[in-house]
Symmetry: C2
């Protein structure tokens, strides 16, 4: 395992501070002292990234696709060593991490397929018309083009799928950008193993030195230094609203502001309509709330329903189910402490009733699920309760009627998801509520749970602020590539000098919009 | 002519300050005292805009298209009154304004066609697969949806095409958003006439009160108040880098930051390769530099070439041609003063040589074209010369060789356009230079001029900062709509409750990406 930073292909560990992996289940330090990058190393990574961009952006789509396929292969080649290390650093179970590795390699291959297919570039052609009056129409052709070095901030809760070779890195590389990953301090060994795999793939595929770099260190030091550097042209982040906002502000306050996509989570409101106050719903929600110890951006943290006996029964059933679920270890000591602090704060709130028999004898770093209930009017007076609590935690709001429910929805900030449990015929009665939800979320779900984000072309994982910093983009699915590319138009440009995607003969056989018609001609 | 603000359909002029039109050619005040909006009026416009959004966003594509067609018709109905007022307020000639009116109505109809066609929404469908292992695949469908009230800051240099009913307004309305226009103080009468036409169209088409508002007043007061209001969900701006940056910062510093697209102009570098140092190039450039008194965002303000006799001859010819062009009136006294100040500053720069016989006996508010020349090394020591000077002004840089030219390009900030004059065979010799240009611009032009921005699907009018605040978007062409829409995904949603664009039967017969294939099925 490489304990140095990867400055392109160059391994460097000049600093005297380091990051160590910790097993949250035992509190034990894991082997490996990963050197925090010092400023000259950050600078060297940026230099190599900017230089490599000049070469990488000109690689053909097939060459870039091959690189992504090879990264996936190389990650699989690490075998059990990666699974073991990742489990030890995250406290997540082997089955989950094995599944997440599958998602990670699938994402890489999905982006490889996307760029190999080629149609994603939105090739748009308007041909010249010399006879147009009053002035002739020129030939103009437009395509998406990469932006430059992209900085990726790895997430703690997906040590593989949203980390070193996760969706952000895969989409940035697919778009033709070079990437510098700021490793998450919670899983430095996992990051090192995956980073090495990426570099092996880069060498195998004859990619330039600097196409990828991996830096250990703190967000405050290494992360902020990266985001302020003028060679960086875009950034991607998954994490807390607080950290995301700090970096977002830095990105925007630069002399040359850069696109900064931050996915900052949310409480993912769930509307349980009267027709759905049943065991099936309780079963689905209890699993979703506690999945991965509740450490998902899409965790259902707020359940809204209409007060009454049926709701009381539902709460009883849901809390019983939650109480039966064993405490699970959380990702880090800090995250678990923060979760327990929030739980204590909640207990101190006289309006919140703890519905779960929370036995706080759990081992260190283990979290017990908690379900709290509150009256609608009290929730409206305590809107800070709509802020995310990271962990197996959910508040159920007993609204006195539809109007109150509507008022609560109208007061919610932007959300990644909104879920409706109900029957088809409910849509008529609850139009206004569903409408309120629709305006505030990136994804609507009917009779399902928000956790389990499908990786595909139709996914939207983002949402109005603060769910994400820019609701016009997604960080999951093929469209995540759009964050890191910009259009460029070529006017009256010689055909043989155009990108292949725009040449008359359509040599790559891609879909193009020509004079208003979609065609492969 | 309505001298009040339009708060939706409600006309209100409570303030005691007002804006008056001025004929820059004569300095005379024009009739009409347009009341600057006071805070309660701004608030009322926002209230109506937010309320109207709830209704407008649910109008069908055909209803919205009809609204846009009707706006175009209503603008044409104003007839000569609009042309006369617009010419008087802008100093622009009748032919130009008539042409610009045509562009304005064409843009409205283009967006109407776009939404009537319907395929622009990027409908993407991934169907369920219950048999997928390890977990079943849910049905997920994604579409673009409007964002909410959008604020548009009108530009001075296109009093019709980038003002009240210009491309920004048309694209925001087409996307399903309500619009509040901050009228430009240089053409309040033109704004009032067009605003009235929009409201007439709104009433005719049964659009909600508040779908459109028009506010007079200063950017500092009315503009900043609008951009800070939490009901506003996005904004569009065309103007100076200074004003654009102030508003951009405000938009990003909000508790809930919003997308703010600013098109802030550039110097639009023109590379004249040795093979193109001829009369044709000089002819095209002299026309482009002086078109509309040089008051275009795409005005070629920086010409780069390689020193030598051929270049000296070229400069002589270009300056002669420019000297033969009569002074033209500028848009406002302030703009003309700023232009003359910059000219004076340039004269004081010992490295700049004035190549034009600038006779400064022009009438008040009339601008004489100016061409300045400078050695490459001196330009590199005075990089502030690469900032835009608004007006018929261009600097030609005599580079000692390709390397120096390359160094200059490498030091340029982001640009709307980059132009190459040369022969096809030059591409091989000058690859590196063209490459440098490509990385910094939104549009590349070969053997043509950057002015005359074609309005079509393949146009990119934007570029790396500071040409625009976000290079991933354009403010001209159909794709301008993408600034004001965001994706939303529907998971396992009942078919009859989906937007028509996503329903199984494809009732609107649009192009959709279904399970990875583009189809109209």
């Amino acid at each position: 395992m490489i304990e140095d930073n990867l400055l392109g292909f160059y391994e460097s560990g000049k600093g005297d501070q380091f990051t160590q992996g910790v097993d949250p289940a035992t509190g034990k330090l894991l082997f490996g002292k990963f050197k925090n990058a010092i400023s000259s190393e950050v600078d060297e990574a940026l230099k190599r990234s900017a230089e490599a961009f000049e070469i990488y952006r000109k690689k053909s789509a097939n060459e870039k696709a091959k690189f992504l396929y090879t990264i996936a292969d190389q990650i699989e080649e690490i075998g059990e060593t990666l699974i073991e290390r990742c489990c030890a650093e995250s406290g997540l179970a082997s089955a989950r991490i094995t599944g997440e590795r599958g998602r990670t390699t699938s994402q890489l291959r999905m982006f490889a397929d996307l760029i190999e297919d080629g149609s994603w570039v939105e090739a748009t052609i308007e041909r010249a018309d010399a006879d147009r009056s009053p002035i002739p129409k020129p030939d103009i052709r437009r395509i998406l083009t990469p932006m430059g070095p992209v900085v990726i901030f790895a997430a703690s809760n997906f040590p593989l799928a949203f980390s070193t070779a996760g969706g952000d890195t895969a989409s940035a590389l697919a778009g033709g950008n070079t990437v510098i990953v700021k490793a998450h301090s919670a899983h430095p060994g996992t990051s090192a193993l995956v980073g090495e795999a990426i570099n092996k793939a880069a060498i195998k595929c004859n990619m330039p030195d600097g196409v990828f770099s991996l830096l250990h260190g703190s967000g405050k030091d290494v992360g902020q230094r990266l985001i302020k550097d003028k060679r960086v042209k875009a950034a991607g982040f998954t994490g807390s609203e607080k950290a995301g906002r700090i970096l977002y502000d830095l990105a925007n306050q630069r002399e040359e502001p850069i696109p900064f996509f931050a996915e900052m989570g949310s409480v993912n409101p769930v509307l349980v309509l009267p027709s759905a106050l049943n065991s099936d719903t309780a079963e689905m929600l209890s699993s979703s709330i506690t999945l991965g110890s509740g450490q998902f951006c899409t965790n259902p943290g707020l359940i809204l329903s209409i007060a009454g006996n049926a709701l009381e029964d539902f709460i009883g059933e849901l809390s019983q189910r939650l109480s039966r679920i064993d405490p699970q270890v959380m990702l880090t000591e800090k995250i678990c402490k923060s979760y327990n602090d929030m739980k204590s704060l909640s207990s101190a709130n006289q309006h919140l009733k703890n519905e779960t028999e929370s036995i706080d004898t759990a081992q260190k770093n283990y979290a017990t699920p908690v379900l709290l209930s509150i009256e609608g009017k009290d929730f409206l007076n305590n809107l800070n309760l709509s802020n995310e609590v990271f962990g197996p935690y959910s508040i159920i709001v007993k609204c006195k009627d539809k109007d109150q429910l509507n008022e609560i929805l109208a007061n919610l900030k932007g959300q990644l998801t909104g879920t409706v449990f109900g029957a088809s015929q409910d849509f008529e009665d609850f139009t206004q509520l569903i409408d309120q939800l629709e305006k505030r979320v990136g994804r609507l779900i009917f009779n399902g749970v928000p956790t389990g984000v499908e990786v595909c072309a139709s996914m939207q994982h983002g949402g109005p602020y603060p769910a994400s910093s820019d609701s016009r983009f997604t960080s999951v699915g093929t469209m995540a590539i759009k964050r890191f590319v910009r259009p460029i138009a070529f006017q009256s440009w010689p055909d043989e000098q155009l990108p292949h995607e725009l040449q008359d003969s359509n040599p790559l056989n891609i879909w193009r919009l020509i004079d208003g018609k979609w065609t492969k001609d």
